[in-house]
Symmetry: C2
C-alpha cells in the first residue's frame, strides 16, 4: 500500500486544478515540469525585469505589488496555492509590470511564455478558463483601485480586511502570516496608521486581535465603514 507524503497530496491537488482548467495529461506534464522553491521574503519576479515565465503557485503564499521609488510597495493581490501569476505578461511589452514576493516558503511551477501560449492556442477550453482569470484579475484591480484612490484610511483598511477574509482565507480569521506592513501595502497607507486603525476597530468590537492573528467579529460593521468612504 502506497503512503502519500504531504508533497504527493499537493501534487494531486495541483493536477486536479489543472485538469479542471481543461489540460490533458501531457499538457499537465509540460506545465509542471519545472518547479522552483522560494524562501520567505524571496522575489518570485522583479518589476521591470524581462517576463520569461508564466507561474503556477503550487505551495505557499505570495504577494504581488507595484514598487515605487522609495521602496513603498502597493500590494494588489495575495496569491494562494493553485493560482496562475503573470498572465498580464503573456502578450504586450515583455516586462513584468509588478513585483511578486513569497510571504511564506513557496513552490512555483515556471512555464515558458511561448509554451503557455501554444497550449492556449491549441486548447479552447483552457483558453476560455484563462479568459475567466483575466476577467477576475481585472475586476480585482478595479476594486483595489476603488479602495486605494477614493477612500479614507478607515475604509481602506476595512476593504483590505474584507478582501483577506472573503477572497483569500475564506474565513473570519486572517492568518498571522499577514503582517501589519502587508495590510499597509494592501491599503496604500503607512504601517503606523494600520496599527492605529486596527486598535480603533478593536475598540469598536469589529475585530479581535491576538498577536498577529486578526479575527473579524462584525463583518457588517466593516462593510458599513467600507461603504461610508
Amino acid at each position: 500500500m502506497k503512503i502519500f507524503s504531504p508533497d504527493d497530496e499537493n501534487n494531486k491537488k495541483l493536477v486536479d486544478f489543472l485538469k479542471k482548467l481543461g489540460l490533458n495529461s501531457s499538457e499537465i506534464k509540460i506545465v509542471t515540469s519545472t518547479e522552483i522553491e522560494f524562501k520567505k521574503g524571496e522575489n518570485v519576479c522583479k518589476q521591470g525585469s524581462f517576463a520569461s515565465y508564466i507561474m503556477i503557485l503550487k505551495e505557499g503564499w505570495l504577494k504581488s505589488y507595484i514598487e515605487n521609488i522609495h521602496f513603498k510597495n502597493t500590494v494588489f493581490k495575495i496569491t494562494k496555492p493553485f493560482s496562475i501569476i503573470g498572465l498580464s505578461c503573456l502578450y504586450g511589452d515583455n516586462h513584468y509590470h509588478f513585483g511578486c514576493q513569497a510571504i511564506m516558503p513557496s513552490k512555483v511551477c515556471l512555464v515558458e511564455r511561448a509554451v503557455f501560449d501554444n497550449i492556449i492556442r491549441g486548447n479552447n477550453k483552457f483558453a476560455s478558463e484563462i479568459i475567466k482569470m483575466y476577467s477576475n484579475s481585472l475586476q480585482n484591480l478595479y476594486d483595489r483601485l476603488n479602495s486605494i484612490s477614493n477612500k479614507q484610511s478607515l475604509s481602506k483598511v476595512c476593504d483590505s480586511l474584507i478582501y483577506l477574509s472573503e477572497k483569500i482565507f475564506e474565513s473570519e480569521i486572517i492568518s498571522p502570516i499577514i503582517t501589519r506592513r502587508d495590510i499597509a501595502e494592501l491599503s496604500g497607507l503607512a504601517t503606523e496608521n494600520i496599527v492605529r486603525i486596527l486598535a480603533e476597530l478593536k475598540t469598536a468590537n469589529a475585530i479581535s486581535v491576538d498577536k498577529k492573528e486578526i479575527t473579524i467579529l462584525d463583518m457588517d460593521m466593516l462593510k458599513r465603514f467600507s461603504c461610508f468612504g
Copy 2:
C-alpha cells in the same frame, strides 16, 4: 462613382479593425448590428448595473472610471475609436465594476455577452487577440495603480499627461476635449490642484497651455518628474 460620407469612411475603418482581429464577414455583421448613439456626458454603462453587453467604440471618445460615494470618480482609461469596452465583464459576477461616459458624441456597437463569448469559443485567432487586449488592460491598470497609489501630485499629473500624449492622442498635443476635471480624475486629485500644477509645469516650460489645449514641450522633464515620485 460612389461618394463616401464620413460615416461610410468610419464603417470601413471599423470593419478593417474587426478583420484584423480575425473576424469573418458574418461575425462582423453580428457584432456591428446594434449601434447606439450617446451624447456628450451620457452614461454608456453604469457601475454596478447588470453587464449585458460588450461594447465596441465606433466613433467618439469615452472615459471609464470608478465611482465613489461622493461623486468623485477615478478615471482609469480614455477610450478612442476602435476599442472594445467591458471585457472584464465577459465572465465573473455579471455586473459592471466601473462606469463609462461619453466625453464627446459617440457611437457604440453593443454585442450581447453570450454572442461575444460564442465567437471567442469558435475563433482561435480572435480569442488570442482578445487575450492580448486583456493583457494590455491589466498592464494599463498596474500603471495607473502605480501612479495613483504611490506618488505625489506633481508626478501624478505628469503621468496623466504622458498617458494622454503617448497612449491616447499619440501626439504632443493633448486635445481640448480633455477637461481639467478629466485630468483631475485621471490623477486622483482635486481639480483645483490640477490648475495649480499645470501652471507650475507651464512656468517650468514643460508644457504650454492655450485655453484647454495642452502641448507637451519637454517630455523628458515630465518623465523625470514622474520618476521622482
